[in-house]
């Protein structure tokens, strides 16, 4: 991992504390329902739960059997049922049906619902409407943050993006605020808070309210600054194909909750293997941030080293051999196993990603980012759709085209949309409607209407009460201004220059030197200037909503903590952005901890 090779890295706060807190609370809640009980867990809570409390711990607290919530009738002989779920109406309805079914059958059981990270009124309403409110007890498990790695925290809320940006439902805002509050109460106050985006602002507000309510504790802070950024500030970055190793692993195999399942083609056996991907994995930690083109060379070098290490045992006497076996062999074996896995993974990447198709896809993306040869790009996208290469990739390209070009010309929009629907069916009419709402894929409006729209947006922003919630809903045309932003912030390095991917010059390396992620560039600029001064034009183009607040006064002595920055992506972030921030951290002698809502690979469907 980046900071192991970097001597002067500041010490990171100990995030295992967060896990312990969550575990203790969960145990407390389980103990509230004494006696043997069956536990039903929401599918997407399975892996996070496993990180907090494994089956043994659950069994210790009298959990008899574990089931996944499947929204089907259950087979359980236990008299006590406990449900550990996200506050989703659908799930609550299912539970109500179970309770009612038991009632009809004359069966007496105790039911307890534990909502995590919090319960919502809407869920309680469902219980009430179904007439089971008195039969179940409800509780909250305030499990806000899951540390995925030494420097990554996650809220594990896959719905955040959809709820907040598409459906305009801000129920998770308080969750994010509480998560920040939790971090602050465990690790001390932040000296400075920056943010951009409507959601970021709301999160900050909700956090501030919590701060005012509770008692202030002063202690040596372990974070210096926190940066909140909305996903919709930068849609471009997640739309680009990832070429950093970790990003590619995610694209191909999906990293879920910090672990990945490698299929048979990688493991070269007939079963799949689940692997944890974090800085504990020595091989992975060295290649995760590397551009893919370097990875293979690195791995083969590593293999050679490993062989040399193995070879040492030739010409050893018995004593040395004994030492070798006891001290080194296990480590080597472990490394060997990981190495072969990662080689397998990169082989299958090679197969898929070095093909002509992928090269052309990248080329198109880069031209779109640079704004060259747009016509050709459109033709390429058309062909991409026509040949049904990949449903998601086509959509990704379309969105990228729309954002970089401030929307598609009417003619192009219609023809591309028609072709897409021909390829993948008319249900995607809804997909397009959603994308339009998000401002990801739009038809260019005639000039006049746009200015009208803009003035409308302006009014809304000024009006305080309305501004608080309203225009997140409104699909009012939002100009993306990508071209101008890119010029202003120098996001696209001058073309024509050779970019040596082995020795990255700047953050652009995560996209083969073609583009610096906008989100990361913003963070860099703001931290450099210690505020938004000088970036007025940029923030105007990003629809404003920026803020910078000074919190607790800086202690005079510059401790390690002063160099740690918490970056919170509201609506998810990509592994490329994480790699870019790691790179930035190394260069600026600062450490970045990322907190994310959920890892996203832009995936939107009906």
């Amino acid at each position: 991992m980046a900071h192991t090779e970097w001597r002067d890295a500041p010490e990171l706060p100990d995030f295992s504390l967060l896990k312990r807190l969550a575990r203790d609370q969960l145990i407390f809640l389980l103990e509230q329902l004494p006696g043997k009980k069956d536990l039903f867990i929401d599918a997407d809570l399975m892996s996070p739960l496993d990180r907090i409390a494994n089956v043994t711990i659950l069994k210790q607290h009298e959990v008899d059997k574990l089931y996944k919530v499947e929204l089907k009738p259950i087979v359980s002989s236990s008299d006590q049922l406990c449900f550990l779920i996200r506050p989703r109406i659908q799930t609550v309805k299912w539970i109500s049906d179970l309770v009612n079914a038991d009632k009809v059958a004359g069966r007496f059981r105790r039911y307890k619902i534990i909502f995590t990270p919090q319960k919502f009124y809407a869920c309680e309403t469902v219980l009430e409407e179904q007439g089971v409110y008195g039969d179940v007890t409800t509780d909250e498990w305030n499990f806000y943050i899951l540390p995925l790695d030494d420097d990554i925290l996650s809220l594990e809320l896959p719905e955040f993006f959809r709820d907040n940006f598409l459906e305009g439902d801000q129920r998770w805002v308080t969750t994010a605020g509480s998560a920040l509050h939790l971090l602050q109460s465990v690790y001390g106050s932040f000296s400075k808070v920056y943010g951009i985006g409507r959601c970021a602002k709301m999160v900050y507000e909700s956090w501030r309210e919590l701060m005012e309510e509770g008692e202030q504790r002063t202690r040596q802070p372990e974070f210096a600054k926190v940066f909140l950024v909305d996903r919709d500030v930068d849609f471009v970055t997640p739309l680009c194909s990832q070429v950093v190793y970790e990003g590619l692993v995610d694209d191909l195999f999906r990293i879920k909750c910090g672990s990945v399942e490698f299929g048979p083609d990688v493991t070269s056996s007939d079963k799949s293997i689940k692997v944890m991907l974090n800085s504990q994995d020595k091989v992975f930690s060295e290649i995760r941030n590397e551009h893919f083109s370097n990875v293979f060379g690195f791995l083969s070098q590593k293999a050679k080293n490993l062989q040399t290490a193995y070879d040492k045992r030739r010409g050893m006497d018995i004593q040395q051999m004994k030492a070798f076996v006891s001290d080194e062999l296990k480590g080597l074996k472990q490394e060997h196993r990981l190495l072969s896995l990662h080689i397998g993974a990169s082989e299958s990447m090679m197969k898929k990603k070095t093909k002509q198709d992928f090269q052309e896809l990248l080329k198109t993306e880069h031209s779109l980012l640079e704004g060259f040869e747009i016509r050709e790009c459109i033709t390429y996208i058309e062909e991409h759709i026509n040949r049904q290469v990949s449903m998601i990739d086509s959509l990704r390209l379309l969105c990228l085209l729309s954002i970089t070009e401030n929307g598609l010309l009417s003619k192009d929009y219609r023809s591309l949309k028609a072709q897409y629907l021909q390829s993948y069916g008319i249900k995607h009419l809804l997909t397009f409607a959603n994308l339009r709402q998000l401002g990801l894929l739009e038809e260019q409006q005639a000039g006049e209407t746009l200015t009208v729209m803009e003035s409308k947006v302006g009014k809304l922003v000024n009006d305080k009460t309305v501004g608080k919630l309203t225009d997140a809903f409104s699909s009012l045309a939002k100009k993306s201004n990508f071209r101008a932003l890119s010029k202003r912030l120098a996001l696209v390095p001058k073309s024509g220059e050779e970019y040596d991917l082995r020795v990255p010059r700047d953050m652009a390396y995560v996209f083969s030197g073609a583009y610096i992620p906008l989100s990361c560039k913003l963070i860099e600029q703001v931290l450099e200037r210690d505020g938004w001064t000088g970036l007025e034009e940029v923030t105007r183009m990003l629809n404003g909503q920026e803020f910078a607040v000074t919190g607790a006064p800086n202690p005079r002595n510059k401790t390690d903590a002063q160099r740690i920055v918490l970056v919170m992506f509201l609506g998810g972030c990509t592994f490329s952005e994480i790699s870019a921030l790691r790179f930035l951290g190394k260069e600026r002698d600062t450490y970045y901890v990322k907190q994310i809502e959920y890892m996203v690979n832009i995936k939107l469907s009906i």
Binding site: A122, T125, D169, A433
Partner: protein
Amino acid sequence: MHAGKWRFCVANHLLQYVIYLCCKEEKSQTRTYYLFANAAWFDIKIELYEMGWNLKDGLRECLVAAAPYGGPICDARPQLEIYSSSGLPLASFPWKSGVVKQLGWTVSDDLLCVQEDGTVLVYDLLGGFKRHFSMGNEVSQSQVLETKIFHSPYGTGVAILTGALRFTLATNIDDIKLRRLPEVPGLQGAPSCWAVLTQDRQSKVLVANGSHLFILDNTACTPVTPPGLSPQASSIVHMCVSFSYKYLALLTDSGHVWMGTSNLKEKLSEVDTKIKTPPKQMAWCRRPKSQQPSAVVMWDGLLIVVGECKETIQYHLDDDSILVPELDGVRIISGTHHELLQEVPGACEEIFKIASMAPGALLLEAHKEYEKESQKADEYLREIKEQSLLSEAVRQCVEAAGHEHEPETQKTLLRAASFGKCFLSNFPPEQFVSMCRDLRVLNAVRDYTVGIPLTHTQFKQMTVQVLIDRLVYRKLYPLAIEICRYLKTPEYQGVSRVLKHWACYKVQQKEESDEVIAKAVSVKLADAAGIFYSEIATKAYESGRTELAIKLLEFEPRSGEQVPLLLKMKKSPLALSKAIESGDTDLVYTVVMYLKNELNRGDFFMMLRNQPVALSLYKQFCKHQEQDTLKDLFNQDDDHEELGNLYVKASYKEQRLEARIALLQSAVDEYYKAKNEFSAKTTEDEMRLLRFQRKLEEEKGELLVGFSLHDTMTTLLSVGLHKHAEQLYKDFRVPDKRFWWLKLKSLAEKEDWEELEKFGKSKKSPIGYLPFVEVCIKHHNKYEAKKYVSKVTPEQKVKAHLAVGDMEGAAEAAIERRNESEISTVLSRCSATTDHLLMERLNRAKATAVKK
């Protein structure tokens, strides 16, 4: 003081007894220490108050209840009267409800009156009626026979024995869940005695029927036997459980008191009282962590303390009394006096025992001599210091001061401790300081006018917060605030909380106007942290002052807190806008859901229309829950675009084709209304496609319905239905490129090379010929691929040659085009061994190309 009235009856067989006058001063306090044979424990009886009440007949023939922790006393004759522990009247009102079977106090100082029919009435400390609840139908039918009110970690509970000889129990009256316990076998009449136990997080009932004991829990009735109970007993006539529910005492008809653990696993002792009449009351008198069990049994005019050894201590009582069990002793309340009976604390015993040589005693002596300016002080001190017990001596004095009730004695002991401290370096001051503070608070609340006779042990157990609450219940706000400030309790736990209670009380004062009260409240609460105005407003509303409540809510900075109350007051529009202002979506949901049930549909929609945020949220809710409502909403707004989308979505859920097409038709209509021709046309196409698919499905038996146009064509081509595919191509205006790609791929898939060649020649390919080459190569047919290389445009020639592996051709093409990058590409593909000559040529060409 009242020493004259005390009478002591000391059993002859005691080896030794001491009457110790603890202070030499005039205002001495009388106390009795009995030293038992093994010199292990003393008993101390402290006069707390001379009762301030004026009872005509003493406590005879009346129903009395006194709360633990020095709580209030209440007594119900025709008139229900509430007194403080010192006998000062707090409230009095005539009783007009039904027959009261039992009185009792809750943990939060509320009075419970259990009536014959199982109704429980709840009053506050000052006699205000709060609420009532019922103990269930079964109880009201068969009437209440006996009742016990008990306290557990879960709150205050009520247990009832009905006329049908069944037990009904509620563990927490604030969250009533009635439990009916199983039947007791062989129970003919009322059991001889029973008690409530709290074990394993459950409340159980222990019942004695003659000599048989049973434990009743939720599911079963289990017979139990106390280990080592004397066999001569034929019936258990009385039982009591200790304050902590750990110990149990049983009194048998033979006059034996059995003491043991309440789980009936262990016997601690058994003592013969030699009295066979049934007692009036029995209680545990035991301080926490004490080694000895001891219980108090009371008959008319006689009180007996039983302990571990065979001897008992007896007191004569002048008057009818009642026993109030406490955590560390028993309070005895009679018509005239209020006394505390407890085991002598260890520290006090050490210090005040006659001729004690304990370090604390010596220190006290040293300090006395010091005050007299006598050199003996030094001798005493030296004696302690030689044994290096000075810190122990200080500790003892501080601890003993805590147990003393008389301020003078406390002061003497604390002065001695402070004196001793001077000779110690590094002695941690915390214990001393906090004891001084605690005692100051305790003396204040023990005052006759306040009447809360807490011991230090009780105070520590109940915590400052609870004490503050108790003071607040008694409306002693200034004292409560004073204590909070003195103890430096964090503001929002201390002063703010008291002020909030004060404000809640204030808003109920009917005689003052809304403005005056609102102003008074806001002035007083202005700079207090952590005040929830919403709670005060709720109180105001509950006492019928809606206008005042709204005024108070204005002070509430958290709009989220205002919403629930506004809803309750039926100010829904205001509630909705406040909820939206708060930015908390969950809260908006709360209001929206409330309105949905409250208003009729038309009004509800109208209200939403004026609140776009709420409307949009409600739409989200409907999307997941109520699709039909969503349709109505869109209809109301004339949002035809969304309606169209809704129909399209619905069509995918529909299995039957006709229904599906019908839904799509509705979608088309909506799209037209929305002037979205594109979507309308596309949807129409889809309908056409569906019909076409079905027709073909019927004719050819290929599964097609539901496929996209592209997939349909692929399928048709793959099964050789070229004609039909072409028809689709024409009907649906499929772009040429797509069709060519499709056909090319599907022919290659089938390896129908002849057909492919024909197709390639049919007309000029709109996708060029490079795809032909690539597709053939993909299917490993180099021979066919080569056929198309010549047709490829010059720009793609190199690629085509390379694809078929023709290095020469590639090199030729690249050189011809003099394109440097293409030459390099070819070069990179050459292998040094076989294509030596070729490479040379290429390098040369490259050089010239660069020059150019």
